[in-house]
């Protein structure tokens, strides 16, 4: 059985300056209560790995507006003017990656692969500073695995062991990130008895999950 934490207790595990990855796509499938707790606890200097920063007041946008993040690795920041402002002011370092490369690098980090070899970005400005490798006469970019200290995962259901399932487009990066961090903390909408999620419906096996965040009171 996993220890069930309050969102505040989960946030307390995270030191300033930690490297965190958080599921979600434009705020959909983002663990909201954990984000709120991280904001409330006044974290500073985080490195945040995520698909995007949503918009101000929504999902990861809150973490940006709270100035908790120093470095950002994302595929898209177009809908959050606050992210762009902090980037232009030089207080937020932003690394943009193609979404498919980003998720694949996180997968590689979680699955013990040494690199991702992808055609995406080849022959564009993205090549700069990156290694190009020739495989059978065709060029590809070699991208490095991505891991974090913590992964924060939004799930539909968890059982008390930590087996997770997801809902529709709220799935997105969550099951991939759940493999790629030292400590994985899941925020399910519901916690259900063991056995309620059938083996074929589990998308993240319990062994990957370190802690669960309690349901809203």
């Amino acid at each position: 059985m996993k220890k069930v934490l309050s969102p505040g207790a989960a946030a307390e595990l995270v030191p300033d300056g930690a490297r965190i990855m958080v599921g979600g796509f434009m705020g959909v499938g983002t663990p909201r209560r954990i984000i709120d707790a991280l904001v409330a606890s006044g974290k500073r200097g985080l490195t945040l790995i995520a698909n995007d920063t949503a918009m101000p007041g929504r999902g990861l946008g809150k973490l940006i507006s709270a100035k908790a993040v120093r470095r950002l690795i994302v595929s898209h920041i177009g809908l959050n003017p606050e992210t762009q402002k902090q980037m232009n002011e030089g207080t937020l370092e932003v690394e943009l990656m193609p979404q498919g490369t980003l998720v694949e690098c996180i997968r590689a980090g979680g699955m013990g692969l040494g690199a991702v070899v992808t055609p995406t970005g080849l022959g564009t400005g993205l090549e700069e500073g990156k290694r190009v490798i020739d495989v059978d006469g065709k060029n590809f970019l070699l991208e490095l695995p991505i891991r974090a200290d913590f992964a924060f995962i939004a799930a539909r259901q968890s059982d008390y062991l930590g087996n997770l399932d997801y809902s529709l487009t709220a799935q997105n990066f969550n099951p991939i990130m759940a493999m790629a961090a030292g400590t994985v903390i899941a925020e399910p909408e519901h916690i259900v008895p063991v056995g309620v999620i059938p083996p074929d419906a589990v998308r993240t096996p319990a062994a990957l999950v370190d802690h669960l965040v309690e349901r809203p009171q």
């Binding site: 698909n51 498919g100 995406t120 564009t124």
Partner: protein, 215 residues
């Protein structure tokens, strides 16, 4: 019908029965409404759904079912939810028949720039680079001219989205096929002539023998 809607309607004619199609956000997303419901076409959204349907009736929006722009959508019968690794595996692996992307610039070699205006607008590439690289057919839907300047340029001065040329460009003024890395004008909007299109276009292009009128 607005110019954007005319572009979307023309793009919809390119979409074959029973194919899997990814529509970018903005103008490209309008294409869906011109594809007949019985066409067997499935729309993929890179945030993780195949079988995207129309916006739901009021009160039936679900926070866990949105498109890549974050807008509420429905799922058609036979839809599938997938994670982001699978979503981009399908995109990069050539399983998407057609992607329709917006554009900032398309140049005369058929290259697309659509994700950043350095120092000015840095939205990020999102899924665009993977889509432009991996979809079987890449169609760009954009207005021909913005703020008085042709968006169909000699050479993109904005950062490229992919080193792979696009396949088709549809604007409010014309349709260009990309053949052997050259633009070929194949259709013009009603009331225009190839010369008028050329006047509004910075890029050089060839003109097909049988230029038709866009419908």
């Amino acid at each position: 019908m607005t110019p954007k809607e005319r572009i979307a309607r023309r793009v919809a004619q390119e979409i074959e029965l029973g194919t899997l199609v990814n529509l970018g956000i903005g103008l490209p997303s309008l294409v869906a409404s011109f594809v007949p419901a019985q066409s067997g076409v499935f729309f993929q959204s890179e945030n993780g759904v195949i079988g995207l349907g129309a916006r739901p009736p009021e009160g039936m929006e679900d926070p866990d079912l949105t498109d890549a722009g974050g807008g509420f959508v429905t799922a058609v019968p036979g839809a599938a939810a997938i994670d982001s690794a699978m979503s981009f595996g399908l995109i990069r692996g050539g399983h998407i028949d057609v992607t329709v992307l917006g554009g900032l610039q398309v140049d005369e070699t058929g290259h697309l720039a659509n994700w950043v205006i350095p120092g000015k607008m840095v939205p990020g590439m999102g899924g665009a680079m993977d889509l432009a690289t991996g979809a079987r057919r890449v169609i760009v839907a954009m207005q021909h001219v913005a703020k008085g300047a042709s968006k169909v340029v000699k050479k993109c001065d904005l950062p490229l989205t992919s080193s792979r040329p696009i396949d088709l460009l549809v604007t409010d003024m014309a349709v260009f096929e990309v053949r052997a890395s050259r633009l070929v004008l194949t259709e013009i909007a009603p009331g225009l002539t190839p010369e008028k299109v050329a006047d509004a276009t910075e890029a050089r292009f060839e003109t097909a023998d049988d230029v038709r009128i866009m419908a």
